[in-house]
């Protein structure tokens, strides 16, 4: 319709439409950075210690684990699914790995065990969602409780103490190289690797294709089930890794240390611009979302705001992010339509 009637310079029009869409998506990550900068500036203005070396290091350490989980979660969300079980996996892995390390296991077997437990949980989620076609919300809500139950059964009320853990592990959690703590470095490497894979490799793009239109993906010959399985597997593995890092950072853990984190992770992902309906977003955005949420938490402490407000603010931010997305999407749709009509 638009092209057959030989409108004036259709290529130029199409290009400007594309730039518009590009701009909106870039605007998303840009607005996160601006919000972050404003938050840091205001907080630092009130209390100079906020920007001290220690303050920044604390924020980076606190962000690392959340961002790692957000990266795994965004892979799942991009395929139009959800993984609610990550918080339980972190708790289970942190406890079991701690138990083993305390009983004399080496560092490397301990880390491998942690990631392997995460992988098994992810595989279970993935199989149920992709092959048994049970809705992701139900499956992962179920595994959330099952994994939590297993954790409690194993722990039996016990607690892992930092003194029982090998010092190598604790230095992984709190040490640094060239002034940069290990934890955020690990997250950064994982994020860059997954981000690069998703953007640059054909199989990476298939995750977006599935989330954008599952039916079309099936018809295009995309191995939909296998990709969804992989997404859950990766999310599980990263949750396992996050469990090990949790243990390394805090040292003292109980069975359900990360209770409730699944919702924090999903908030970070959504605030970071990954559409909950799939197909849109990046792991970088998700990690930025995690950084923003963590920084807000720290800023509130520095600003002496009652910590109970933190949850309300996280929630408000979530609603804001979703509303802004929705409004922008409608605007863009409308502009595109107008261009195609009057162009």
């Amino acid at each position: 319709m638009t092209t057959a009637a030989a409108p004036p310079e259709p290529a130029v029009r199409a290009r400007s439409a594309r730039n518009l869409v590009d701009l909106v998506f870039r605007a998303r990550e840009l607005s996160l950075v601006i919000a972050l900068a404003a938050l840091v500036a205001i907080t630092a203005g009130v209390n100079g210690n906020f920007l001290s070396g220690q303050g920044i290091e604390d924020i980076l350490l606190n962000t690392a684990i959340l961002a790692l989980l957000a990266v795994g979660q965004s892979l799942v969300v991009i395929t139009r699914n959800l993984d609610l079980s990550v918080g339980s996996v972190v708790g289970l892995v942190a406890f079991v790995t701690g138990d083993m390390l305390a009983s004399g296991w080496g560092m490397v077997p301990g880390i491998v065990l942690g990631v392997a437990i995460g992988a098994v949980c992810g595989l279970l989620n993935g199989l149920l969602v992709s092959f048994c076609r049970v809705p992701a919300l139900v499956v992962t809500l179920g595994t959330l409780y099952v994994i939590q139950g297993v954790g409690h059964f194993i722990a039996h009320g016990r607690q892992i103490n930092a003194v029982d853990l090998p010092p190598g592990l604790l230095s992984l959690g709190n040490g640094s190289v060239l002034g940069i703590p290990y934890l955020p470095l690990i997250t950064l490497v994982v994020m860059l690797a997954i981000g690069y894979y998703l953007r640059s490799y054909p199989s990476g793009r298939e995750f977006y294709a599935i989330g954008s239109s599952p039916e079309a993906a099936g018809l295009a010959g995309v191995p939909v089930r296998r990709r969804i399985l992989v997404a859950y597997l990766v999310s599980g593995c990263l949750a396992g890794l996050a469990g090990v890092l949790w243990l390394a950072r805090f040292g003292t853990v109980i069975a359900d240390s990360a209770n409730g984190w699944e919702l924090l992770v999903i908030s970070a992902v959504v605030v970071g611009g990954v559409a909950i309906t799939g197909g849109v977003g990046s792991v970088y955005g998700a990690a930025l979302g995690a950084l923003l949420l963590t920084t807000i938490g720290s800023a509130l402490v520095v600003l002496r705001v009652n910590p109970f407000w933190q949850q309300a603010i996280t929630g408000a931010l979530l609603l804001l992010a979703i509303s802004v997305d929705r409004v922008l999407a409608l605007r863009v749709a409308r502009l595109l339509r107008r261009r195609s009509r009057h162009g």
Binding site: Y201, R205, G279
Partner: protein, 498 residues
């Protein structure tokens, strides 16, 4: 036609439970031919397409590729073998770029296995040049018109070197010049040796595009023959198994008082300054190209969307903007274009769907009376000659034509004084189409004012007392029944009229 057919079905049967969708069907597609597949809804066309596409596997019989039997394990297998299917609703990834849509799974790669985006965009651009269309490969697929989306699908098929192109009702949502552009692309592919299987309910298209036609009826093969020498009536007789009465039986009625008056209605970005009236007993058609703003006017009149300026008056009383409840209360009913998405709740039963619009009137005390709901559904099912198993069956199992009747029943049950129908016979077989036409005509005879949006020109010309034509959001012509011809309507629809 020498050599073996590019793709063939030999004595294929396929059942779903007790329903025998295909019975001993054979079909041969030769290189360089456009082959039409004709049949009423429920005749097995879709099942046949899905068998070719590798979605279904035949219970018995064979799929032959270049004369050799093959088994497609899935859609990917069929694509690998050079079979491309373009479904009625294009299946694109809205969030991904046009180029990514074309090359999903087969992106050009660098030596390291990464996607070579430059090469991908260049290849897409070359494909569009070959098709003679201007689309930007880097644009997201979201926001493309259905016609442009189909071109992306065709580009996808060509990039796979498809030897067989199956098109399932590709023209259902297209306007005149979009169809012409599609046909020229298809014609070019055919000349390059591609075999085309073309499905359409518009018989004119079959006659103008195809060389041969295969007809199915109730899942069984009826005939495969050259199009040349056949008449419309021949083809309809093969599809229906009997002769049809005149397709467009609008009775002459005397128009009563004005039932619906629309004055200078404007919704920014969609339509501007639209004024018209519909009298009781009249059928007024709203014609125009897809995207001209016709459905948007209907939605605004019914209150689904707000309008920015103007007024709507029903039987002398003004309607508030943006309130479907008020519109229904005033006696308006809207049968939407997309019955699957907007007209029906697919999971609910026939009776529940028919009852939805009148839940208040079905109330006994505070609860809904199931008996009243059932009575009402039975009554309407009989009046519309609905073909169904039980009223408690889900509407999803009905054929397209019968689903449309359920939507009609649902709205007629509100006893409207003004009925707006948006593409009432789109994707409906000839037999049911005639029934819908007769029904609309009867309703007008009973004094209901009918506003019919339609892209089907013969339907517009045959049914309407007056034809309103929209072009790019404006009303460009009002043509009386006597003066309405294909030429006068099309020239107004394309903006060429004075």
């Amino acid at each position: 036609m020498s050599g073996p057919p590019t793709l063939a079905l030999a004595n294929v049967s396929k059942s779903f439970g007790a329903v025998r969708a295909l019975r001993d069907v054979s079909l041969e597609l030769f290189p360089g031919e456009a082959h039409a597949l004709a049949g009423e809804n429920g005749a097995g066309k879709s099942t046949l397409v899905k068998t070719l596409a590798g979605v279904h596997r035949p219970d018995s019989g064979q799929v032959l590729l270049g004369g050799e039997p093959v088994t497609f394990a899935g859609p990917a297998d069929a694509q690998q073998a050079g079979v491309a299917v373009i479904y009625q609703e294009p299946t694109l990834f809205p969030d991904l770029s046009v180029a990514e849509n074309i090359f999903m799974g087969r992106q050009p790669r660098t030596s390291l296995g990464r996607i070579d985006r430059k090469a991908m965009h260049a290849q897409a651009r070359r494909l569009f040049e070959r098709l003679g269309v201007t689309l930007d490969p880097e644009q997201p697929a979201r926001g493309l018109s259905i016609a442009d989306q189909q071109l992306v699908e065709i580009a996808k098929a060509i990039s796979r070197d498809a030897r067989v192109l199956v098109m399932d009702e590709p023209t259902a949502a297209l306007s005149g010049n979009e169809v012409a552009r599609l046909f020229s692309v298809v014609e070019a592919l055919r000349e390059q040796g591609c075999a085309i299987l073309f499905i359409s309910h518009r018989l004119d298209e079959i006659f103008s595009l195809c060389q041969r036609v295969t007809t199915l009826r109730d899942g069984a093969w009826i005939a495969s023959e050259p199009v040349e020498g056949l008449t419309h009536d021949d083809l309809i007789r093969r599809m229906v198994g009997r002769d049809l009465d005149a397709l467009y039986p609008k009775q002459d009625t005397t128009a009563g008082e004005v039932a619906l008056q629309v004055e200078r209605l404007t919704r920014e970005g969609y339509f501007t300054d639209v004024s018209f009236q519909v009298r009781r007993g009249e059928i007024v058609a709203l014609a125009g190209l897809v995207g001209a703003g016709r459905s948007e006017v209907a939605r605004a009149v019914f209150g689904i969307d707000r309008w920015d300026a103007g007024s709507v008056t029903v039987a002398g009383r003004p309607l508030p903007a943006g309130s479907p409840t008020a519109a229904m209360g005033a006696g308006l009913a809207l049968v939407p274009e997309d019955r699957r998405q907007q007209g029906l709740v697919m999971e609910l039963s026939i009776e529940r769907n028919i009852g939805l619009t009148g839940l208040r009137s079905l109330r006994r005390g505070v609860t809904i009376s199931r008996a009243a709901e059932r009575d009402r559904a039975r009554d309407w099912a009989l009046r519309l000659q609905l073909k169904f198993g039980r009223l408690s069956d889900g509407v999803g199992v009905l054929s397209g034509g019968n689903q449309q009747k359920v939507v009609l029943a649902k709205w007629l049950a509100t006893e409207p004084s003004v009925l707006i129908v948006d593409e009432p016979t789109r994707g409906i077989d000839v037999g049911t189409k005639a029934e819908v036409h007769r029904l609309l005509s009867e309703l007008a005879g009973q004094g209901i004012a009918v506003l019919m949006i339609s892209s089907d020109l013969p339907e517009v010309l045959g049914m309407a007392d007056r034809v309103l034509v929209m072009h790019e959001g404006r009303l460009t012509a009002e043509i009386s029944r006597a003066e309405a011809t294909e030429e006068s309507v099309m020239s107004a629809a394309t903006g060429r009229a004075a």
